[in-house]
Each structure stands twice: as C-alpha cells, then as structure tokens.
Amino acid sequence: MLELRKDIFADERDDNLKEVGRPTQRQDMLGHVTGTSAYYDDHRFANLLHLKVLRSPHAHARIRSIDVEAAARAPGVKRIIRAADVPVNLNTLLSLIQFGKDDEPSLASDVVRYQGEPILAIVATSERAAREALALVRISYDPLPAVFDVEQALKPDAVSVNPAYPKNTFEYHGKYDHQKLRFGDVEAAFAQADMVLEDRYQMSPIEHAPTETNGSIAVPDTNGRFTVHTSTQALFFSLDTAAKINAMPSNQLHFIGGTVGGGFGGKVDTLTEPLAILAARLTGAPVRYRMSRHEEMQFGSPRGAERIYIKDGVMRDGRIIARKATAYFDSGAYTRLSSYAVVKCVAHIPGPYTIPNVHADVFCVFTNRTPATAMRGFGVTALDFALECQMDKDAVAIGMDPLEFRMLNAYRDGDMKAHRREAKNCALIECAQVAAEKANWPLREEFRRMSSRTARPGARAAPPQPVSPQSARAPQRISYERPAVSAPRPADTPAPPARTEPPAPPPGATHGARRFSSVFGTRRR
C-alpha cells in the first residue's frame, strides 16, 4: 500500500542509517493487543469519588438563582463546587505564552454563554449518585438573545458574547480585530487579471471523537501533593493550566499520562484536570472526572467552523496574479486556541503557490456556541479545502488541466512567500508528478520535467539563492547548530514592490512564454 521512492531527492539524503527508516514494531503494540496498555482510567483507588458538572441548557442567559439544597442532601453527595470555590476562575489557555486575555471561567457564575457551559460540579460516591443529585439542582435563568453566525456577530448591533472581547472578535496587536496579510497590490492586479473568480466556503464544526473520552483522576498524595492521571495531549500545558486555576505551585502537581486513547486535538484544552484537582483538595479523596460520550460530542470543544471567502485574479496563461482571502473562525463563546489558529491560517495563505499579490484579513469571532479548539490540521484544513476547490475553479475557468495549473503556480526553492520568507526545501511539484504517474493522470512533457529545485527568477520572487550543497547534503544538521530560524531577517528581505503595472510573468518573459504557450486555452480530460 505504501511505496518509498528513494530515487527522488536521493542527492540530498544520507541513507546510510541502521535504525531510522526501518519498519520497526511499535514499542506499545504488545500492550495494545493484550489489553495491558494503561490509560488514565486504568488506575484504581480506594474510595474514589466521581465528579459530574451541571451544564447550561441555554446558549446565552443570566443566572438568576441557584438552589442546591436538595442536591446537597442527596445520597452519596460529598461536595458541591460552585464558581466561588474556584481559586482562579478565569483563564485562557494561551495565557501560558502571554497570548490573549483570561476570558473563560471554569464554572459560570452570573452568565452562561453557550449551551453546555459548566455551572457547578457535584462530587459523589458514584457517578450515578452525582447524576441523580444534578437532577435536583434548581437554577432559574433569564434567557438572553444569542448569536450563532460569525458575520452576524460582527454587526455593530450584535449581541456581545464575551465580556473580555465586547466586539465579538479577538484583539490582535492590541489594536486590530483581525490579523492582516499584505503582499503586493491585489486590487491593481485584479484590474489587470484576465479573470477574477470569487467564492465562499464553509467548514462544519467537527467532533474529535476519540474512542476514549476526556478525563482525569486527581489523587491526594503524600506531603500535600496531588497525583493526576490524565488523558491530556500536553502534559505540562495541562499541569501549568491546572496549577494556575487552582493557585497552586506547579511542583505540588504530579501529572502522569502519555498513553492516550486518541486525541486529534481534543485533549489539549485541559477540560477536566482543574476541577478534578479542586475536588480532590476539597474532599481529601481521589476524584475522577470522566466526560460522558454525550458531553464529549456536544460540549467538548469541536474543530471550529470556518467561513472563508477567496477571490482570485487569474491570467489565461495560467498564472494566478492575485489572491484575496477573508476568513472568519467561529471560536464559540471563548478563545481557547482559535486566536492562534487565525495566525497559522494567515501564514498559510495563499497556499503552496507563488502569487505576487496577496491580501488577507482573518477574524477570530465569538458566538454563543461550544468553544472551539485545535484539531488535526488546525487553522489549515478548512483553508486547504477552500484554496484547493478554488484552484479547481480557476483551472476550469481558463480551460487548463487542474493538476498542471497547480504545478505551474507551485512554489519553488527561492520563491518569495506572501509572509515574506524565502521558500526552501519545496517538493509540491514532485508530489504532483509522482501522483499523476501513479494515477495515470496525463501530464505533458514540460510538466513531467518541472522541478521544485529550479529557482524561478522574475518579479514574483526574491533573487533566488541557490541551496548550498553543504546544507542540502547534511540532513542530520539541526537548527540550533545554525541560526535558529532559517528564514532571513525581515530587514534583509526585499519587500516586493507595490506594482501598478501588470506583474511580469513568473519565470521571466521568454522562459514563461515557452512554458505557457502550449497551455494556452487548451482543455484536456
């Protein structure tokens, strides 16, 4: 099923290796097939207590009153945890790297901002007892108007979702409601383009659906420490988040994990650890907080929905001369990690293509839905869907083979990317050539001969710098032995001239003419 093509790029590799490159058996496979791999919940403790949270039935509401008397008296209930019990009841995941304001409570106190937001937690001798007690809690709400559409949320009269960001957008650089990308002059290029195509793309919210749901067990340890068995994807990230919310020194927490029943991004948010630890502190007993499948499906953060508008300026000879993107990340009620994905999305625009004029505005928008988070391909998956569907439409519009159209515009070593860094170590063209060969997708000779390593002169890219043989032939070399970030410093990088005259054809007029002429207007497949 999988074939390695060692012949391609062989000159850049040292294949004289003993262990690397071998199909060695997984270290954890025997444990998996014998059912002995120990996941967080495969540890047993006497007198284990169980935590369940009460979740808001409303997408947006003010909490008028909470009555826990009956619940507190219910059999098996050891403790009810309210917002006031949480030492630091406001946090944002990326505060650990000083990105964004604390905006999300562990337990809602006055207002709930999405359906399923936790309001209080009940710790009981069994999961059943906890669930039964939850049913006895009486809460009265004043429902508030809610907003669910990202573009509605940006209207001036829209309901404000998140008090930390009253305009419903994350704040970038302390002054913008979105992240910008500006490269060349798209409007001028659109005016010069043979064709301008625009379309709208919409990603759906997606559940990570790992077969093991999020969960953790917090166990009071000797000398005032707590051992936490956890399903987290990020051990110290979760440890530090839990320490902050519980106002504990981090060395009072001992996190153990590392064998996790799937994550795909859904186990970064540290949804269970802080409350499990708090409950263990308040009761002095081991406490398990295991999300139910229903909770995981609807109230564990999903991959956020993204709405993306793409506008391309295309020439009949196959060149894309301008690309404009406007994107809205549906972050739900709180930030979690969407703010980060926005920047990653901006960096990815315009995709693996060399386009001389690029313009993007990407927004992280708050709505009254379950907060979104990272998922496999974070910030890129939906954009790739939009870009690659748009590439197809562009190709059809100019009557060019969609694969050759991509290869024509593919970035190559030495090209200048829209975020003003030189493209290096490119291989898009080679991937296209091999896939086409495998699938009997007809490519014409000049496309079969193309290479990512032939740098392209011309206005579309910075003067190509030939890849130095040394660095190319030394794959083992890693970057702390060299300038940590291989891209040139901003200052050294010639910004592309803002042009009003039509951009020069990518590979220099004559070369370009030769490459493109046979493509002109032909329709194949």
């Binding site: 999988l2 074939e3 390695l4 093509r5 790029f9 590799r13 290796l17 262990e19 690397v20 071998r22 060695t24 058996q25 790297i97 970038y172 490269f183 919409q202 759906s204 559940e207 659906a209 990020a234 051990l235 110290f236 996190f255 994990g257 064998t259 799937g262 970064v268 499948r293 609807q298 929905a305 901006v346 960096a347 693996p352 839905r369 496999r376 391909g377 890129v380 939906a382 790739d384 869907f385 690659e388 569907c389 439409k393 969609p402 975020h419 003003r420 860094r421 170590n425 291989a427 898009l428 991937c431 896939a435 699938a439 997708w441 030394a474 794959p475 083992q476 702390y480 060299r482 970030v485």
Partner: protein, 337 residues
C-alpha cells in the same frame, strides 16, 4: 437513474511545529549499568507513535540496536518539559531533542570505550549491534555493556545526555503579516475517484492515489498508519462529519456514534501511497511530520471529484448527499434520467 464517475486532485503543504515557533521540547537519555538506555520524556503518545519514533531516533544516534532503548513517557516528575503532542511537532521537535540528548550520551560512551581500549575516542565507531570498535580494526572491540559497566564502576562516568530543541518564538507584523511561521513544510498531492448517484446525491469514494513528501520516513509503517488513517478521516470530514448538522443552527446535534456519522469499514477504498523524502535541514535525519496534513488533501480532492463527476460544486462541508442533490436539482438541465 445514473451513477457518474469523476476524479479530483488537490496539492497541499503543511507547516511543521507550532506556528511562529516558541514550542520547546526536552529529552533525557541515560544508560543503566549494563548498557541499556532509557529516554525520559513528558511527551504524549496518543496513537501517533511518539514512543516508537523517538526510540528509533535515539538508537540511531547512540549507535545501538533499537531493542536496547526504551522510551518512558509521560511523567511530570521524571520527564522534562515538552509543549505537547499537536501541531505535527512530535517527530520534529521531540525527535530533535532526543537526538541532542543521545549525542551527549554517545560522546560519554565513546570516551569511556576509548579509555577501556586505550585509543582516541575519534578512532572509534559503533557497529549498531551493541559493540564499539576501532575504525578499520573490528577485532579491537568492546561491547556497549562492558563500556557501561566500566563507566559506572571503574571510571565514574555517567553515560547520559540532556537535549532541548527550540525554534525561538518570532513575532508577526501587524500591518503586513510578515512572519516566520515554520522552519519546514511537508507536501502532498492526492487524487480521489468518486461515484455520484444523481438520484440521491450519494457519493462513494472508489479510490485514492497520493504522494506525500515527509522529509524522512523514520518508520515507514508508522507513516503508513498516519496516511491511511488520516485519509479515512479526510474522507470522513469531506462527506460525513458534523457536530452541528444544521449549522449555524445548533439543533439536532449528535449525541452518540450512531448519530455522529463517520465512514464505516464498508466505506473505505483502496489507497495507493508513495512517500518522497526531501530532508528538512532542521529535521531529525531530515524528518518532518505526517500526522496532521494527511487528512487535508482528501477534502478538496473529493469535492473536486464530485464536480468532475456531475458538474456541481458543494462549497459547504460536509458534502452530504442532500447538498449534492440540492445542487443537482438547482441546475437548469438537471439529472440525466
């Protein structure tokens, strides 16, 4: 009634590691007294194979058999800091940290061996099978086991190493978005073949053909696991999955695996995969990371194949048969019945 076939393509790249850097990982490597090595990490294996990939990188760097290395993770008391298992950073970031630690441990091991063999460390090489010998003179050799015993009980040396890998955090220009998002990128091209039922809108994926450029396949079977499983998830995202079927309306959200639709074992199709290796200058043995990107090309390739088959574009995910059927009915000269 008619079923129409079509195929579509997508080409993508993917940045390795956290955007803008600033996501360090550390590793510790040490030998026990008889020459077996332990790698201590706090990194997470959530199925992607972290334990196995770092194990092979460590063995290769030390010059010992993979069986002589065990990766212990994740315990915050014994494993040094790791940012986490996400952003396709495991192989690249953690792999690099393990390499550095293993190099340091190897240097001590070679010194100890040199002392035992009374030669210069520079004249020694490992055979990868558990022995160290003088270059060009295989008979002047000592086992890693004996070296470890000597280091521990005679020389008083610790055969151990510490490693960290960090791409320093860089910033973004507010006005232009100028930034250094990543130090290397993986690449892919995927071609999907589908069949569309023009009476119901049902889409069946018949075949996938793909090429992935991953810098270095540290373990081809683990790469295959990612690419096969990832393409299934891509198909799932493209045609099935939604936590809010009527988005932006939040009603009818699925509560279980009956309501949350994903392709079953009867929905999967043949997938021919080719892997290319253009080493990343800063990757461990050139490796990048296949974990996330493998799902990405499948979504647009399927969408484009649907267009190729029946001439309609569905720009909203998932591409449900309902959306395909609505698009078919919206066409003036609809449905070839």
């Amino acid at each position: 009634m008619a079923k129409h076939r079509g195929r579509g393509v997508a080409t993508i790249n993917y940045p390795i590691g956290m955007n803008l850097g600033g996501d360090p990982s550390q590793a510790l490597v040490h030998s026990n007294p008889t020459g077996k090595f332990t790698v201590s990490l706090s990194s997470i294996d959530l199925g992607q194979g972290m334990k196995s990939v770092t194990r092979q990188i460590c063995a290769e760097t030390l010059g010992v058999p993979v069986e002589d290395v065990y990766v212990d993770t994740a315990d915050s008391d014994t494993g040094p800091h790791c940012m986490g298992s996400f952003a396709s950073r495991g192989t690249h970031r953690v792999g690099n940290a393990v390499m550095v630690a293993a190099r340091e441990a190897r240097a001590v091991m070679m010194e100890a061996a040199a002392e035992e063999l009374e030669v210069d460390p520079g004249d020694l090489e490992t055979d990868g099978r558990g022995a160290i010998h003088v270059k060009g003179a295989p008979h002047r050799s000592i086992s890693v086991r004996d070296v470890a015993i000597a280091a521990q009980f005679r020389q008083g040396k610790t055969i151990s190493g510490r490693g960290i890998f960090l791409v320093p955090l860089s910033d973004v220009d507010p006005e232009t978005g100028e930034m250094s998002p990543a130090t290397c990128y993986a690449h892919a091209c995927l071609i999907a073949e589908v069949e569309v039922d023009d009476e119901t809108g049902d889409v069946t994926v018949l075949k996938m053909t793909s090429t992935y450029e991953l810098g270095r396949a540290i373990n081809p079977k683990l790469v295959e696991q990612q690419l096969v499983g990832g393409s299934w998830m891509g198909m799932s995202h493209a045609l099935f999955e939604t936590a809010e079927p009527y988005y932006p309306d939040t009603r009818e959200g699925p509560r279980d695996f009956n309501e949350y639709l994903m392709p079953g074992p009867g929905d999967i199709c043949p997938h021919d995969i080719v892997v290319l290796e253009r080493p990343a200058p800063d990757g461990p043995f050139g490796a990048k990371g296949p974990g996330e990107m493998c799902a990405n090309p499948v979504l647009p390739a399927i969408a484009n194949a649907v267009f190729n088959a029946v001439g309609v574009r569905v720009n909203e995910l998932p591409i449900t048969p309902e959306k395909v059927l609505r698009a078919l009915k919206a066409r003036p000269a609809s449905v070839g019945r």
